[in-house]
């Protein structure tokens, strides 16, 4: 993709792109367990390639997530209309220009070259490049974080989240308004199915659509989404595009280790048998819209993925899942619940939910703060967090933002809360009538402590 952008900007091209891009490379070696020597070697190769491009480039290490401010998680105001127009023109010409693909590293490193674009004045920054290894404490903290996650699926999801936040931060600091990623058609089809399996059905349009505006001022676009991986490979070979292989977090993992690997293997195998599979799945993604489910107003956003929360009591599968999941968490808090019975329901009942819990009765301790963060997440992020036993190793900006949001007045969420006496009508919930008093009582009777939805 970077190569394509390069060509698009060159003076010889028929329709010139009108933006000034920068390139960012995220070094994830610490998360993958690489030593600093290996990483330095990879960085040298990457630096060589980046220097030939002539664009301003930034190399950041994943450890820098520990230095991010909580504002990364906030959705800022959108761009003024003028820049959007320029962007559209630029993208149109860019898309019409190219036929095949670009300097993405070989499949191992999806983050190796992601371009950013800035439609306004050209940037004159020097390449930003850490010369030495990042602080050992941060590397240590990062390895600790990733080691504490139990499953590879959750690790990959966490890595993606952190990477996105980091790139966003870089974009915001340097004044970029768009981020282009090199996801190809095949990758997006795999991502679509993976997101489906992870419970992100509500957000598929954002995750795999052309543009992703949930972060507000920075828009993530995917200009390569029409090209298959095969085309990419051919292009790279025919045009001798230099690329660097970096091991990713799932390199050499067995096929059954994570949902991402499973889906990838499955889709590619099925594609061999039914050649239209990838394009069919991709076309389905085009039929998705970004609307929230009918009747749901724009509510609070997920802490990690910044999509509108999709958890509410109207949903049968979520409610059921929460019910059975509470059983698995009963052993740990049971003694606590017996000791301080108000501590349990205080998290659940009451209009304020968590805010009351913080201010009111005796502190719930770590369980409470975890429940706190969990209830600000969407369904899929919650399921991922189940594999993260302890929230302490998470970068401080996440925990700080969670704390901040929980202390906001509950007025914001008051209208979405359903008290056990009220009969709040469910919003457009589908087939068989509004839910259910008995459902709520049944759940309350289960003595659920970690009530995950706004009840």
């Amino acid at each position: 993709m970077v190569w394509q952008v390069l060509e698009g900007l060159s003076r010889d091209s028929a329709k010139r792109l009108r933006f000034v891009p920068g390139v960012v490379y995220v070094d994830e070696g610490a998360a993958c367990g690489q030593s600093w020597e290996d990483r330095a070697k990879t960085l040298t190769d990457v630096r060589q390639i980046l220097q030939t491009l002539g664009f301003p480039w930034h190399i950041v290490t994943l450890e820098e997530v520990f230095a991010l401010p909580p504002s990364v998680l906030r959705c800022s105001a959108q761009d003024p209309v003028g820049t959007v127009e320029t962007y559209k023109v630029a993208v149109d010409s860019f898309l019409q220009q190219q036929r095949t693909l670009a300097a993405e590293g070989v499949r191992g490193s999806p983050s190796s070259a992601q371009g950013e674009e800035q439609p306004s004045q050209p940037c004159t920054q020097d390449p930003q490049d850490p010369v030495g290894p990042p602080p050992a404490a941060q590397t240590e903290a990062l390895s600790q974080l990733f080691d504490s996650v139990k499953t590879l699926t959750a690790k990959e999801e966490l890595l993606q989240t952190l990477r996105t936040h980091l790139i966003l931060h870089v974009a915001r600091t340097h004044g970029y308004s768009k981020v282009m990623t090199g996801d190809s058609c095949t990758r997006l089809a795999i991502k679509l199915m993976t997101s489906l399996a992870l419970g992100r059905g509500a957000f598929l349009a954002w995750d795999t659509g052309f543009s992703d505006e949930r972060h507000g001022d920075v828009v993530v676009v995917r200009p390569m989404r029409e090209h298959t991986l095969k085309e990419v490979a051919f292009y790279n070979r025919l045009f001798a595009v230099p690329s660097v292989f970096t091991p990713a977090i799932d390199t050499k993992a067995s096929e059954k280790a994570s949902i991402h690997r499973l889906m990838e293997g499955f889709l590619l195998r099925l594609q061999a048998q039914f050649p239209s599979t990838v394009s069919t799945v991709y076309r389905t993604s085009e039929k998705l819209v970004k609307a929230p489910r009918d009747g749901c107003a724009a509510g609070p956003r997920c802490l990690l993925c910044m999509c509108s929360l999709d958890v509410d009591s109207a949903d049968s599968a979520t409610a059921f899942g929460a019910q059975t999941q509470d059983f698995s968490q009963t052993p740990a808090p049971t003694p606590r619940a017996e000791a301080g019975a108000p501590a349990g329901p205080c998290c659940a009942a009451g209009p304020g939910g968590a805010p009351n819990c913080w201010q009111g009765t005796r502190p719930c301790g770590r369980e409470g703060s975890r429940a706190h963060v969990i209830e600000q997440l969407c369904y899929a992020c919650r399921v991922n967090m189940k594999d993260v036993p302890c929230l302490e190793p998470l970068p401080p900006y996440i925990l700080a933002e969670a704390q901040l949001r929980s202390q906001r007045p509950s007025v914001e969420i008051q209208e979405y809360l359903v008290n056990s006496d009220d009969e709040a009508p469910a919003s457009g919930s589908g087939a068989l009538g509004p839910p259910e008093q008995e459902g709520k009582e049944a759940r309350a009777a289960c003595g659920c402590i970690n009530k995950n939805f706004f009840n």
Binding site: T151, T153, L192, M193, S195, L196, A197, L198, G199, G201, A202, L204, A205, K256, A257, S258, I259, L262, M263, F266, L270, S276, T277, T280, V281, R283, T284, K287, L288, V289, K290, P292, R293, D310, D315, S316, A317, T318, A319, F320, G321, Q323, T324, Q325, F327, S328, T330, P331, Y379, V383, S429, G430, A431, L432, G433, P435, E436, E438, G439, A442
Partner: protein, 360 residues
Amino acid sequence: MPAPQCSSCHAARAALRRPRSGQALCGPCFCTAFEAEVLHTVLAGRLLPPGAVVAVGASGGKDSTVLAHVLRELAPRLGVSLRLVAVDEGIGGYRDAALAAVRRQAARWDLPLTVVAYADLFGGWTMDAVARSTAGTGRSRACCTFCGVLRRRALEEGARLVGATHIVTGHNADDMAETVLMNFLRGDAGRLARGGGLGSRGEGGALPRCRPLQLASQKEVVLYAHFRRLDYFSEECVYAPEAFRGHARDLLKLLEAARPSAALDLVHSAERLALAPAARPPPPGACSRCGALASRALCQVCALLDGLQRGRPRLAIGKGRGGRDEEGPPGPPPPPPSDLRSGPGPAAGECGAACKERCE
């Protein structure tokens, strides 16, 4: 290592761990919990109002056996009465054995049983005949498509015969998850839009259908059948290996190994899909031949049978054609075929390129 205590009654020794939550339970407590969850599903979605006459689609397999058993236990509390309806698709070597199991169950539980056969309802076409007709393209047979559509119609007819007001089927969470995967892989936006939710309310005169076991995982269904010592028929259909669903099923098994809540997550995703209005199916009208609910001029049953009669079984399979262009004069279905009618090769090219994605 001694087995842990049952975490519900704390009295007996645990006999199993629930697949999703890992909770250790003894047999009776698990069965109670399972029944409680089904009850919750039914009550929460208001699926079966009191006084309903419920037709249970019984195939003799584990899902419908468990469903019938649980509903029979819950019937007094729900205030509904049950009837068993079994469908005979005419698959030799499979369906007869399954029907024997259903008959045994009906006798044991003292529930009225009605058997409806494809041969009677659909002009003499049995699944074996359909399979013979659709075979021979070199691609896999589409007989599973026929079976699914025709079976739903047959269930509906059977339910009407016994005077039922609701139809229940034994689809479990794994089935729902497989359906979601399958529809996505085939790009079936119409079905994706229609799916989700706890059942259909039954528009246009069709009986309301629901799936009380929808949120129970398949493993739990099997465990329940084991602990209640239910007698069911456990072989798979003769044509099952050729179905596309097999791929989705394999994938789901792998996903569940990687993450136990995969089926629920898929169902959650499906419920939350936001499809573009253009991709949604058109509001249903009535079939011009039989008057049933249809989104095109002919309902799928009529269209499929039409294709079979003409010797072009793939006529109604695939996007956008559905026999619409080729309606013959409506009339009573022709007499059953007496010999093998293999006809000209099924419409691999006739339906056009659009079919390639669906017919495999």
